[in-house]
Amino acid sequence: MDTIKDILFYYTQNGSYVWEQFYRHFLMSAYGVLFAAIVAIPLGILIARYHKLSAWVISLANIIQTIPALAMLAVLMLVMGLGTDTVVFSLFLYSLLPIIKNTYTGIRNVDHALLESGKAMGMTKFQVLRMVEIPLAMSVIMAGLRTALVITIGIATIGTFIGAGGLGDIILRGTNVTDGTAIILAGAIPTALMAVIADFVMGWLERKLSPNKKRKGALKKNIEEQAA
């Protein structure tokens, strides 16, 4: 009970600081995923096309994923120096695998009959991609972004070790003071909360973009129209 009181006391005293770090933490994670999306989605589409490449690209991304986060940060720090850029770059690397994999899977799973009919209607390759493949794969790609964002929010916490700030700063400070339980929790709870909220929002987007739902909606509308 005392701990809860302490945590609330901590927030009333340091509210603006916590908010600042929360925002910073989120931005680092979001930038990491954003840059990864810019690289990984085209790459995923590419390896879905030339899928001899897929084994190479995916296993490379797999290898990146197996490097422990602290080791990755330490190595990148030697090259890129201290600060947020290094953290954003390592988050970028960690986000690659889920996004590439999901984009690849999403595009590969589009029904061949649909591609053929697109072609038969005289669509160019780019039109098939833009009007058939991507919309149908969208929800799977979103699921990849969702996984990536949740992973990066967790990893961004250790950015504090290379001076990048974020909620990890609060947690680390809690470990340094004499009786830091409340401070550790005051940093850990918002981090967990951010991951849960991000997961929830991305999940909602994913459902919104799901082609099944759209089709059902369209079907319903059709039936209603016919009935009228």
Binding site: D6, F9, Y10, Q13, N14, Y17, Y23, R24, L27, M28, Y31, L34, F35, I38, M80, G81, L82, G83, T84, D85, V88, F89, F92, T160, F161, G163, A164, G165, D169, I170, L172, R173, N176, V177, T178, A182, I183
Partner: protein
Amino acid sequence: MLKKNRFLIVLALSLSVLISGCSLPGLSGPAKDTIAVGTMGTSESQIMGNMVRMMIEHYTDAKVEMVNNLGSSIVQHQAMMNGDVDITATRYTGTDLAGALGMDPVKDPEEAMKIVKREFQKRFDQTWFDSYGFANSYAFTVTKELADKENLKTVSDLERFAPNLKLGVDNAWLKRKGDGYEGFVKEYGFEFGKTFPMQIGLVYQAAANGKMDVVLAYTTDGRIKAFNLKVLEDDKHFFPPYDTSLVARNDVIKAHPKLKGVLQKLSGKISTEKMQELNYEADGKMKEPSIVAKEFLEEHHYFENEK
């Protein structure tokens, strides 16, 4: 077609941001045009680091970034040498004499300060500022009641009844060469009745509730004040001095002409007792170092009226 072009432009822009490594909107890191202030993980270091940041922001237009939680004095030094950090907020004369400079300890505080100032200027092209006014060293500490009762002011005052006293100390200190217990006995010429090695964090509580008569504490720890303890003066200068200063790279001082004057305003402004108070605000009352720093500077109006 227009859509495709727009997409390509966005792509190119984002990639160029990523590759050039310049700071992202809303997330400035230690980039070229900002001054990076490095601190260690301790509350003391972060309080002082934030003061340095706020002083610079208050008086100049320069942008400042904090690089917190550097592991040790050596890491701070390396970061300064690499250029990752432009200013380190808390550097202790005794630590850096042995660490960065690799020299023998010097007992006289003024002499030690003179040496680090000279050597950092010469070897590393960095300026060591005057001390903030506090020193974070080891010190023998007793309760106020005991000090008043026996009229204790210095460590030598303990001599007459030392054989009856229980001493609580850091694990490592008892066996340490040089400024350890053995050296202490040689220098002061008396021993304590019993010594109890313990975790440094526990000595304050142990002294406060009477389990120990004398403990070896860190002089700026907030609990000295909170638990009503008294630090005894090291009258024979047995412990090397750990006066605290900030260190800045000379190229930053040159690039920002007002910087030196602004930072010098902090010199001599914070006594060891004041630092105890500030540390206690952070460690005992759970205030963030940045908020402690801000309150302190606002209370003193950023030392505007002083040179």
